[in-house]
């Protein structure tokens, strides 16, 4: 890069983000390389947790950049494959580098992000240097890529026997016509067979661009030292103006029922209610309000739960969650039952009843306190804080948005959300039955 005046002027945007309610604060920095940096100083704590991640997960298979005017589609499983390969340096694996600092290190790939992390109490700056260096320095050859194919293939096949995993992906396959969220994060044995070094490098340079990444650190760290290391190690690269896209996804479900047989004791089920996805802060609001709806409808203190539990239709494994991300949103109820279809029918009945008769306002107030308390508890923990910050950072939000949204939610918001997010026509049930028929 050519600088006409002989030296580069580092322009750094820096602000302190404060939260009145909790008295907590963190520093946000937009680094000149394009990286978003979040630093939350936890005085008097010993542990530091750092995450360096890219907004690149298994669903990001279709994209374009300013150098490529047309969208291209790549095989499934590359994000996860890259995570495996980045853990190998040219001469050693990354764990042996961390051994010298005493940090414990790991990485994960989800549907919409890939994160590399460490946790330590000493030598935090040495560990940070390791983290920033290896993620920015990919090294693989056709040979090392081929070697990985067998290992990842085994990992994929291992999950074929896992009933909890299968019941979930079978449901996603029923809910979604086109969205890649329905494909296993690691891809398929067929899709990873198409992966080679060229494709990995192409995706690496597209998604591991600092403009598409976030660094999040919580712990007893010196902000200036962190930024000094960032200045030293972050590589300048031009913004590729990355755009991702998905095939059009109809509002209706693809299949209302998916059944598979495996070696288990009692039938397992996932019931998904498909809804329209939202973006940014609206997505946060949708997730939180839907969580309230789920608690009110069917948590352990609900009448619905108690009735089905006492009748032996569900057992204590019954639970619910919101599952959402870029281009997908659904509410899932899962567990074990001798009659999963009855659970679905009862749920639909309960949802329709609540739409007509309303939800329980007293329970709403209790759930709100409990939800809020859990978020406060997380503030004790460096790992939880760093995770909240990176999740917010990837969506260009503030780390306090979740806690503030929960504190502001009203009963009316939640009743409206029930109406909006639970269309009882857009339901898929996935069932895993024991081999040899139903257990009696």
């Amino acid at each position: 890069m050519h600088f006409p005046f002989g030296k580069m002027v580092i322009i750094m945007e820096k602000k302190i983000v404060k939260n009145e309610r909790t008295g907590e604060q963190y520093t946000y920095v937009k680094h000149p390389t394009g990286l978003d940096i979040f630093i939350w100083k936890m005085e008097d704590y010993s542990t530091t947790h750092a995450l360096f991640g890219t907004k690149y997960g298994s669903i990001n298979t279709k994209f374009k950049t300013k150098d490529e005017p047309d969208f291209i589609t790549v095989p499934n499983g590359i994000a996860h494959y890259l995570e495996h390969k980045l853990f190998e340096n040219e001469d050693c694996d990354v764990f042996s580098l961390y051994a010298k600092t005493g940090a414990s290190a790991n990485a994960y790939t989800s549907f919409d992000k890939t994160c590399y992390l460490f946790s330590c109490t000493d030598n935090v700056y040495d560990s940070l240097e390791i983290l920033l260096s290896f993620v920015q320095n990919p090294y693989f050859t056709e040979e090392t890529v081929r070697k990985e194919q067998g290992i990842i293939g085994q990992e994929i096949r291992m999950y074929d026997d896992n009933a909890g995993w299968r019941v979930f992906f079978n449901m996603l396959g029923g809910l979604y016509h086109n969205h890649p969220v329905k494909i296993d994060i690691a891809g398929t044995v067929e899709s990873i067979a198409q992966i080679n070094a060229d494709l990995l490098y192409k995706c690496y340079y597209t998604f591991y661009n600092l403009n598409n990444m976030v660094l999040s650190i919580a712990g007893n760290v010196d902000e200036d030292k962190v930024l000094e290391i960032c200045d030293k190690l972050l590589k300048n690269n031009s913004n590729p103006e990355l755009e991702t896209a998905f095939e059009d996804e109809p509002e209706t479900v693809c299949k209302p029922e998916v059944v598979q047989k495996l070696e288990i004791a009692m039938p397992m089920f996932n019931i998904g209610f498909k809804a329209k996805p939202e973006k940014g802060i609206d997505a946060v609001r949708a997730e939180i309000e839907t969580n309230f709806v789920l608690s009110l409808l069917a948590d352990e203190s609900s009448d619905f739960y108690k009735k089905l539990y006492d009748d032996g239709v569900i057992n204590s494994s019954f639970s619910s969650e919101v599952f959402m991300g870029d281009g997908y949103f659904c509410s899932i109820f899962g567990g074990e039952s001798r009659d999963p279809r009855l659970v679905r029918d009862k749920l639909i009945e309960e949802i329709n009843r609540c739409k007509k008769e309303g939800l329980d306002e007293e329970r709403f107030n209790i759930i709100k306190k409990s939800y809020y308390g859990a978020l406060i508890r997380d503030l004790n923990d460096a790992e939880a804080i760093a995770t909240v910050m990176i999740n917010a950072g990837m969506e260009k939000l503030s780390a306090f948005d979740v806690i503030e949204t929960v504190a502001a939610v009203t009963f009316e918001d939640v009743e409206k959300r029930l109406e909006k997010q639970f269309n009882t026509d857009n339901v898929t049930i996935s069932i895993i039955e024991p081999i040899g028929g139903k257990e009696e």
């Binding site: 010993s46 542990t47 000493d122 030598n123 409990s370 809020y372 308390g373 004790n380 923990d381």
Partner: protein
């Protein structure tokens, strides 16, 4: 930053320990009842904390209790049982966010403490026993738990190995007891045992929070003062005796992979040196066992070591192909010999030291981890802070590690193998 630790005697065998760390955003209270492990009482003791944490006189059902806890900003009350050396510990834990984070400044810590005290001293009873219906549910859960021990092969092998390692010692007894005793449990007998424990057990109360809470302390002190005490004395553990002959046991079971547990005994008393030796030898992913037995020779799917300081026993726990158990045993002994011969690099030693410091320094950050650290200290009759132990670790030398390694004598080799494992 150090945590401020104080310990105060409330009455015979009852202590109130407080751990103050101004950054804590939650308040945690833990009440431990420590008693001897015996085959007759292990099961009944194991069920008591679960019964107590599910209801009380004031909140007679789980639903009522949970509803109240939810309204206290998602406070929790939990029961658990654990084993420490030759003793059994029954624990009740309660936690909530600090009052200052509530929407309207509600005094939720005090309310939660009242609830916990109620669970401990005023349980839900009927006809001179625990409330029958709830008790029977907990009993079924205990029986299911005992049955399920077989599902998790690694811990099952460990449990079976303990029977041989600690032959004729209390530490051999499973923390949940055995099925034959559990099946005979009644709500009435359990209630009698509960009353006896309240009177006789060593009781250690822990409070962890940002600042002292005199009101919580008073609630707990008053509740415990209402109990008629007949203290049985402090609990201790004896170092396990080395058997005159090596004990070899192989049991057959439907497993795809054999599980091998080797136990070495020692009367060496420098705990910190033994921890460092254990870290170099087998407790980390950069240790000798991991790098050699697992990675280099691929003899085991997992192979790691752990040290029980209360009993003076170092374990090596491994998962091995049936045909490789002999080879794996030889290689594990080989690696221990390397430790005894001082055949480890300074880098191995320093990396291990860093890994331990990393974990000890982090202890103060979590309410439960710091409470557990000091509970261990109380049991051993010491009060070392993590910082003090780190100081000792910094001064531990290569010679100390060698001395620690040389003190270890192989006592037991236990193998859980497949049905055809014996011939293989």
């Amino acid at each position: 930053m150090a945590v401020k630790y104080t310990r105060e005697k409330l009455s015979d065998g009852i202590h109130y320990n407080s751990l103050i760390n101004k950054r804590q955003k939650t308040n945690t209270l833990i009440i431990h009842l420590i008693t001897e492990l015996s085959p007759e009482t292990a099961s009944v003791n194991a069920i008591i904390p679960y019964v107590l944490s599910g209801s009380s006189e004031s909140y007679p059902t789980l639903t009522a209790l949970n509803k109240k806890l939810s309204s206290l900003y998602g406070a929790v009350i939990k029961g658990s049982v654990s084993k420490i050396g030759d003793s059994q510990t029954l624990s009740l834990m309660a936690g909530c966010i600090n009052n200052r984070y509530t929407f309207d400044g509600e005094k939720i810590t005090e309310e939660m403490t009242e609830m916990l005290a109620g669970c401990l001293v005023a349980p839900n009873t009927e006809n001179g026993g625990f409330f029958e219906k709830d008790f029977l549910l907990k009993k079924q859960e205990l029986l299911d738990d005992i049955d399920a021990e077989i599902n998790e092969k690694r811990s099952y092998a460990f449990k079976r190995a303990n029977l041989n390692i600690f032959k004729d010692e209390p530490a051999a007894i499973s923390v949940k007891g055995d099925k034959s005793h559990a099946e005979k449990l009644t709500a009435k007998a359990a209630y009698e045992q509960y009353k006896k424990l309240l009177a006789t057990a060593q009781i250690e109360v822990f409070f962890v929070g940002a600042e002292e809470s005199e009101s919580c302390k008073k609630i707990i002190t008053d509740a415990l003062a209402s109990v008629d005490r007949n203290y049985a004395g402090d609990n201790t553990s004896a170092k396990s005796l080395l058997k005159s002959e090596l004990c070899r046991v192989t049991e057959s079971h439907d497993v795809a992979q054999s599980k091998m547990v080797m136990a070495f005994k020692t009367d060496y008393d420098n705990l910190v040196a033994m921890k460092l030796m254990n870290a170099v030898f087998g407790a980390t992913p950069i240790s000798k066992l991991f790098m050699n037995v697992r990675e280099k020779l691929s003899l085991c799917y997992y192979c790691s070591s752990g040290y029980n300081d209360k009993k003076g026993v170092l374990y090596v726990d491994s998962g091995v192909e049936h045909t490789n158990t002999g080879k794996a045993e030889a290689e594990i002994l080989n690696q221990l010999k390397a430790m005894c011969d001082g055949d480890f690099t300074d880098e191995e030693m320093e990396n291990a030291r860093k890994a331990i410091i990393n974990s000890w320094k982090g202890v103060s950050d979590g309410a439960r981890s710091i409470a557990e650290w000091y509970f261990n200290q109380c049991y051993s009759g010491t009060a070392y802070s993590p910082e003090e132990q780190i100081e000792k670790l910094m001064n531990t030398t290569r010679e100390d590690i060698i001395e620690a390694a040389r003190s270890l004598k192989l006592d037991t080799v236990y193998v859980l193998t497949g049905k055809d494992g014996a011939e293989a």
